[in-house]
Subunit: 288 residues, 4 copies
């Protein structure tokens, strides 16, 4: 759907009870909002209710700034909802973390430059200087932070400062070859998207293509996920695979894998930008 008007988008999770959908849709209808998209899901084991609803604000009677308060009092309190409100007019601000590999970075910048996404990219951070020239080619601020075991905590604090200064909403690790500290990760819960170059949970950690080759798998994959404190174990957003054969040596796996990585990472960024992801107990609900 491509409505030209501004939309409000609400993401909800709460214990499942009768009448939640009625309550939410009544709230919108009574205020003359027209629902553009509604998707709900109930986890059948845990009885948790999840919902994403988007409505047109053109005819909506409530002012943008009063929606949150009224929804909280009339609906969210009653059902003890975890919920968040987004407006489609707000353009999210994204920072990209890279090391030396450029394929994901080029893919992101190509999409950004061609207007494929509604996003701002004010900052690229790297632990190497190699990709500075790419950032400059696209006129994006590039900040180099040399990372060692000793200075990591300190450098992350400086990174957090600049992320804060530039009002960054979320971050993308585009083959960033550093493990973030728990402190950093906790500060940006479900706001750091990573691409791992394997079909998780197979081959977490370093050198997954080497492991895939050793194991003799017939298909390789890539997985985008939110970063948590456990390495490569955060909630998976998207995965995809490509068929390989005994003819493909490790270099060929790496080459084929790059195409997967950039597509799977960019799909995750798009879903995040569209506010189509809810996280619950290390799993994602994707309202696609």
């Amino acid at each position: 759907m491509t409505p030209s008007n501004e939309q409000a988008i609400v993401l909800i999770s709460c214990k499942d009870r009768r009448g939640i959908i009625s309550a939410v849709t009544d709230f919108i209808s009574e205020n003359d909002g027209n629902i553009l998209d509604l998707d709900e899901h109930v986890d059948p084991t845990e009885r948790i209710f999840f919902m994403r609803v988007a409505w047109d604000l053109a005819t909506f009677k409530l002012a943008r700034k009063e929606i949150a308060d009224i929804f909280q009092k009339k609906i969210a309190d009653r059902y003890q909802m975890n919920w968040v409100l987004h407006f489609s007019s707000k353009t999210p601000r994204m920072a990209i973390f890279v090391s030396k590999l450029s394929h994901c970075l080029y893919d992101i910048l190509g999409r950004f430059q061609s207007g494929e996404w509604q996003v701002e990219i004010p900052l690229i951070i790297s632990n190497h200087e190699k990709l500075q020239e790419v950032a400059e080619r696209y006129d994006i601020t590039f900040r180099h932070f040399d990372i060692t075991k000793e200075n990591k905590v300190q450098q992350e604090l400086r990174q957090m400062e600049i992320l804060n200064e530039l009002n960054i909403d979320f971050m993308v690790l585009a083959r960033y070859m550093q493990i973030l500290t728990g402190n950093f990760v906790q500060a940006f819960k479900n706001k750091i998207i990573n691409i791992h170059h394997s079909f998780l949970p197979a081959f977490p950690g370093a050198k997954p293509y080497h492991s895939a080759h050793d194991r003799g798998v017939k298909i390789i994959g890539a997985s985008s996920h939110y970063v948590t404190e456990d390495l490569d174990a955060g909630p998976i957003i998207d995965q995809d695979v490509v068929r390989i054969s005994h003819k493909n040596d490790i270099d060929e796996l790496i080459r084929k894998g790059k195409d997967l990585e950039k597509i799977v990472l960019s799909r995750a960024i798009y879903l995040h930008l569209q506010h189509k992801i809810l996280v619950y107990q290390n799993r994602t609900i994707i309202f696609d």
Copy 2:
């Protein structure tokens, strides 16, 4: 979701207006029904609203036989809905049409026999005698109707009689090599599922694997669809593909294609049995 209780399932289509979702979910909530699954879609061009909602009947206050009447008066009339009500306890009755190729038939019967589907199969119809032994192996009534240009209309009338006698709900053409007449097709609108051995709309009609080989495609496909009067042009239910190479001759395409055909046909049958398909203007809405 696998609820053990009986469910009611309603499929709806109508002009999109504000408040439809509220109206339907209120109807269910007010009668103490618990919604197990709800999916809706609005065609953004034509502004048509589609919905599938399933609810638990265990706590529902209305008796099964009064649901339809009350829903019609209180909800459907107001929004001029096309709608249909199913109960999960009703086991659909399916007839299979075959010619000489057995792979789809074996796949269907294996699923049937192992209890994978909730379905009854009281009848297999064929224009050849070849697969009679398969029907007998599974103790299913087999009826042979020799079809010629001259006798087709007459034979179809006889087929319709027996389909009627046996209370057949829908039919599956499991590589049935006959084109049905308009009369027959119209009598069973959206009740005849066919499998076509190509990635439609590429290669409709006869010998698609030969055409695929001639054209040098790198991927072949199969498509399941409801039968309409236009050959291989009915609403597509599911499609899938498999990669091929120059090494695969036509026999190899046929061999690889068989696996596609049986999977894609069986997926369509499953969706139909689950009442998850709505048809609108030669397209399907699949509430999957």
Copy 3:
């Protein structure tokens, strides 16, 4: 390729040296054999040479029974080859091991019955009686071996006896829920094909669909492999995957997975029947 004449098929592995391909193809040409298919691969790290060559025996000057001896002396000795000779006219004899799940068994029997494969199936072995009726439906000898921790070694010896008596060439574990002993596995190296219901090496062992659901993966898979002493760690023959979503509960993963399992297992059986698999260091070379 679908030649009507009998073929000889040779599978070779040896240290890579110059001139091997010439030597083999000269041997065939000089004896008036026409090469129908040739595929070779060199492992670039280990410098190991692999080859599959098939030729038409119609015009071949050597008698079938002298080919092996002459090839050994003129070619194989010179290059210290591991090699094996097959004739396309020999129909392999396969035994199927099952427990209670029938979907792979039905798929195999459907293909067998419809003549899709050139194979004989003289025996079905099970640790349960449940699928005896399926074997009977297809007139195949069914042997029930109750397996406990205490009697496993003894029962396997009895199984080996009957496998031997019936001249079984290879075995298929069609969701057979028993771990074979090292003794049994060693006796049938690269002759036991298993289907594991996950995308190996992710989720080996029991209940992979439960683990996949817990981890929140977006794609599930199935893997066919030769059985070795390490559980689910033998050389992978084929793998395939299907996309899932948060909407799919464990029952739905199991249902979707069944289609994968039967297709991936049957592809492995077909490749084995075609003598298109070479095993080297726990990896397969598939001459497809």
Copy 4:
């Protein structure tokens, strides 16, 4: 395989006869060449033989400049081969044709810039000025040729001049929205790679995503092919697909399709650069 030494690569097609493989591999062996890769295929219907063989030149006794002559006399003449010799050290020169859509162009330039391919890109040609800034960002000569029905023939002659001047080896139409004249196409047989935004032969010509949406397909595709005089009917190099649903409107098909297009086009370019494509009767043999 990633050999560091220079390779010779020969692509052959001819009538199939006994002894061709021996003759070619003997030629290489006798001159102390080490075969790195050999793949052959025989069209079983037409009895045409195809082969790609690559060997290491480090130990090869013939000088690079005498290889062609000697191979012609000793081998090619005897079997009346169509054949071509490439050296891995020669870096091909590619021109890119674009109109207004930039996603394929960005993808190509990202790969070029990051060193993923061994290629030179001295020229971008367009019938619009829109993407001039992209070319400038990457310091590549951009030439704008306004195309009308009246001036097309004249403009193409001017394009051919500059292509000639810059020693362009092959061209890529990266969503170039002009139909080339027969004259132009004939001048560059199997040297113009196009990406078509559908799963050919479905939906050739303009607006395939609109047609796909109208037809209600469940999967969309993209196809890369060599350009011939018949629109979108040239030999297919690669195809790929992505699953869609009724939820995806045309804009969403276009968005999803862009990812397919750039990957499928880039795969074709890579295969072309690796000299892994042979064309025969409007089909490709891909030695992958």
